[in-house]
């Protein structure tokens, strides 16, 4: 499973970022979302969503073993094991490993809320 | 030809949808214009602000083809 991205269909509405924080943090604060929308304006005038594809690069560089792979392929963070060394953030090729207020990373775990709210086809739950 | 016609707002009453809340399956002779088709099913063409065939803007003079999905806009509520 993955979040399939069609950037040409993205309108920059940020509903995905709104629902992400509502779903995962129970609050309305899109800045803390686990995906980003890059706005390429004024030229060429496109929006590009950046989402987690569970590549595992963050887990690979973590010296504490705090990021591990679940049976369903989703990489999750165990805050208890995290030493807040911060090495993982630069390892993320999409810039979607987020730093929490306690400096512990948090990330997308494929809850699919963004794909449910997006109705332009920019974010789709796919095989 | 057989087409699907969708409409919301005040056009729904005229359209009498049968496929879902907004959609009616309509049969008509090949070569009929959209205006003629609408008249044949009791939808007043004068109440149609705009029409789209498969997503593209068309006029009421458009000749629907078998399988087309026609969307009708009811009178405009404005910008």
């Amino acid at each position: 499973m993955r979040i399939q991205v069609a950037p040409d269909a993205c309108t920059g509405c940020r509903l995905c970022r709104q629902i992400c924080t509502i779903e995962k943090f129970g609050e309305t604060n899109p800045r803390r979302a686990r995906l980003t929308i890059e706005a390429q304006f004024p030229v060429p005038g496109k929006y590009v969503p950046h989402v987690c594809d569970q590549c595992g690069d963050c887990a690979e560089v973590c010296p504490s073993g705090a990021i591990s792979r679940r049976a369903d392929g989703v990489y999750v963070v165990d805050g208890e094991l995290c030493s807040t060394c911060g090495v993982c953030f630069d390892a993320c090729p999409h810039g979607v490993l987020m730093k929490g207020e306690d400096d512990v990373p948090y990330k997308c775990d494929f809850c699919w809320a963004c794909t449910e709210v997006c109705n332009t086809g920019a974010l789709v739950r796919a095989e | 030809m057989t087409v699907l016609i969708k409409a919301g707002g005040m056009l729904t009453d005229y359209l009498k949808p049968d496929v879902d809340a907004f959609t009616r399956r309509v049969e008509g002779p090949d070569g009929a214009t959209l205006r003629q088709l609408l008249e044949s099913i009791g939808v007043p063409p004068g109440h149609v602000a705009m029409a789209f065939a498969n997503g593209g803007l068309v006029t009421l003079g458009y000749t629907p083809r078998d399988g087309d999905v026609i969307t009708l806009r009811p009178p405009v509520q404005g910008g």
């Binding site: 040409d8 993205c10 309108t11 920059g12 509405c13 940020r14 509903l15 709104q18 629902i19 924080t21 509502i22 943090f25 129970g26 609050e27 309305t28 604060n29 899109p30 800045r31 803390r32 706005a39 304006f41 004024p42 030229v43 060429p44 005038g45 496109k46 929006y47 449910e116 709210v117 109705n119 332009t120 | 969708k6 409409a7 919301g8 707002g9 005040m10 879902d20 809340a21 907004f22 602000a49 705009m50 789209f52 997503g55 593209g56 803007l57 969307t71 009708l72 806009r73 009811p74 009178p75 405009v76 509520q77 404005g78 910008g79």
Partner: protein, 639 residues
């Protein structure tokens, strides 16, 4: 702390450079709701009646509104208001995009600017950090260039609202730009901002919004998203935006053509929604939290010029800068859109003013000499471009145009006044009222001067009969209650207008955000009525009266018949206008002179207005017994 709101207000004195923060008063929030409600109350209470709109005592009010930032149908808007340099009365204009939400995330519901900065500044807001900073490096830049510079300097995640050179140079119909192509366009609020030497507001906010019942709000909005995604109106809207109305407007004989000389433009096929989508479209562009994504971001290649990028042209630009100026190619209209956006000019009054200049030139009322050797021909990009340059830099006759329709007509002479298509100084929207009399009444009676956002009536006009004059005023009054409601809560009215999200559903969302369980649509409609009367009182107190004498358009609309197209022969007389106004004032509970009555003002709790108007001899005499809620009772069946 009022849930749903940001929580704080800012008061900025630009003359002294001081910034003061205060908590939002919950009673004030409940009473005036936000958006244009906050604007109306603040400027009525604070701006001295004789103050120059471009002087230090005018207020610039910025307010995001309660729905902004929330997970709700298009909670995206921000209202900018002041005493307008066009009408010399209440002015407000609302912009979409992402600015309002960012102010909410930073924690602000209201910013009031007073004074004039000694040199160009911008307001920097980063959550609690609020500073006035030097803007000299941005001053003189076009709106899109300035926005790009601010984002490069401060961070991509800052939202920017800024003026262009037109606002800096106090062109009275200057606008405020945001998000590379959205504007708070009307009422010349950009000129007020420029008069204060305020180039921009840059804001970043990182806080969560306080919501009374987020799970309920989430559930309700998800249902609305799913339901409206299937609505037949949604897909065409997402594809074409309002540009698709160009063809419709021509077919219904209300499309302004050649400065409203006629109402049908034969060559409209080249400037409709389809050519936009086929030839210009780069991306669909949405406001915050909106899935209707009406914005169309376009790349424009005009022969002999470098590519430009612009959001648009949407309908108003596609009409007032389209057939109204004689442009028949979508590339031309989009280029003109870009010229206006970059300079920071309202494309509506801008397009109308340009077409007025074109007609004056056509009739020999302006000479090539006055145009610095250039012409001002219908459909000429070079002429339009040069005219904008003269306007923005206020050279020669450009200065007269910059001062507005009355000043331009006075400078031009030769009876030019009859050709100024405006009411109270504000250019008409892209619909000619001779094809739709109630639309003309809407222009005549709108509190901010001619603008369709208060009441849009063309379909009702046709339903009741395009030639029918009587019986339409009450529909206008109803619309003037319901449409401004969306500006007060700062969301887009198109969900109500286009895909059947009801006003009650918006009230439900408001309750879920604020916890005001007893808030009703009735209360909101009474607020609309209250604001309407407050703004009328404000206008009269500043301009004198009786109100009726300000409520007429230029002579074109009651002396000329439409010469061609589907409305050919349509003609309104002064008697027709008077019949409509009489009916309107009765429906409002005003006197025949167009002045609000004591009874209505007291009923709405506007005691201060009673005192002020009475002192000035401007109270009207109630003509009929007072109905309980004046506007809502006229709700037509179609709603």
């Amino acid at each position: 702390m009022v849930k749903g709101f940001g929580g704080s207000t800012l008061r900025i004195d630009l003359s002294t450079g001081t910034v003061a923060r205060a908590p939002l008063d919950p009673a004030f929030a409940r009473a005036w709701l936000g958006g244009r409600g906050f604007v109306a109350k603040v400027i009525y209470d604070e701006v001295p009646r004789g103050a120059d709109p471009l002087g230090p005592e005018n207020r610039l009010v910025v307010t995001p509104g309660v729905l902004s930032g929330h997970f709700a149908p298009s909670g995206s808007k921000c209202c900018f208001g002041a005493v307008s340099p066009l009408s010399n009365g209440h002015g407000d204009s609302t912009v979409g995009g992402h600015f309002g939400p960012e102010l909410k995330f930073a924690g602000y519901d209201l910013i009031v600017f007073t004074g004039i900065a000694p040199s160009p500044v911008y307001l920097f807001i980063d959550d609690d950090r609020v500073e006035l900073r030097d803007a000299s490096r941005y001053w003189g830049q076009g709106t899109m260039d300035a926005e790009k510079m601010f984002k490069e300097d401060l961070g991509e995640d800052f939202e920017i609202a800024c003026i262009g050179p037109a606002g800096e140079n106090l062109v009275t119909f200057a606008c405020i730009g945001h998000d590379y192509g959205r504007q708070a366009g009307r009422c010349g609020i950009g000129a007020v901002m420029g008069s204060k030497r305020l180039k921009a507001i840059a804001v970043r906010g990182t806080r969560a919004l306080a919501v009374h019942d987020l799970p309920a709000l989430k559930k309700s909005t998800m249902e609305i998203i799913k339901r409206t995604a299937q609505h037949p109106n949604m897909a065409p809207w997402q594809k074409y935006g309002t540009a698709m109305f160009v063809g419709w407007s021509n077919e219904h004989g209300v499309y302004p053509t050649h400065n409203f000389q006629t109402t049908y433009f034969e060559r409209f096929a080249g400037i409709d929604g389809q050519p936009l989508v086929d030839r210009l479209l780069v991306s669909n562009k949405a406001c915050f939290g909106c899935w209707m994504n009406c914005g169309k971001y376009s790349k424009v290649l005009l022969p002999g010029r470098e590519a430009v990028y612009v959001e648009g042209p949407e309908y108003e630009t596609g009409s007032l800068c389209g057939g109204n100026c004689g442009f028949d190619q979508i590339e031309q209209v989009a280029y003109v859109n870009w010229l206006c956006d970059r300079a920071g000019i309202d494309t509506m009054t801008g397009g109308g003013m340009a077409s007025f200049a074109m007609e004056c030139y056509e009739k020999g009322l302006i000479s090539r000499e006055q145009l610095e050797g250039h012409e001002m021909r219908w459909g000429s990009i070079e002429d339009f471009e040069h005219w904008v340059d003269m306007l923005v830099h206020r050279r020669g006759i450009g200065d007269a145009f910059a001062r507005g329709y009355a000043a331009a007509a006075a400078a031009i002479g030769g009876g030019a006044e009859r050709l100024t298509c405006q009411v109270k100084g504000q250019g008409m929207s892209g619909y000619d009222g001779r094809g739709a009399p109630a639309m003309l009444l809407s222009y005549m009676t709108a509190d901010i001067g001619a603008h369709h956002n208060r009441a849009w009536t063309i379909t009702m006009d046709e339903d009741l009969g395009k030639n029918v004059i009587r019986g339409k005023a009450k529909v206008v009054v109803y619309l003037q209650h319901i449409r401004p409601f969306f500006d007060t809560v700062s969301c887009c009215r198109l969900f109500w207008g286009e895909v059947d999200v009801t006003a009650e559903e918006h009230i439900d969302a408001l309750r879920m955000m604020t916890g005001w369980d007893d808030y009703t649509l009735d209360e909101a409609m009474r607020l609309s009525d209250r604001l309407w009367n407050l703004n009328r009182a404000h206008f009269l107190e500043r301009n004198g009266g009786p109100g009726r004498r300000f409520d007429y358009p230029n002579a074109r609309f009651y002396e000329e018949a439409v010469p061609s197209g589907p409305s050919e022969g349509a003609r309104l007389t002064m008697d027709d206008l008077d019949v409509m106004l009489d009916e309107y004032y009765v429906a409002r509970g005003w006197g025949k002179d167009g002045n609000p009555s004591r009874e209505v003002l007291l009923d709405l709790g506007l005691d201060a207005c009673v005192a002020n108007l009475e002192r000035a001899g401007l109270l009207g005499g109630l003509m009929e017994p007072l109905p309980p809620v004046r506007g809502e009772r006229y709700k037509p069946k179609a709603f």
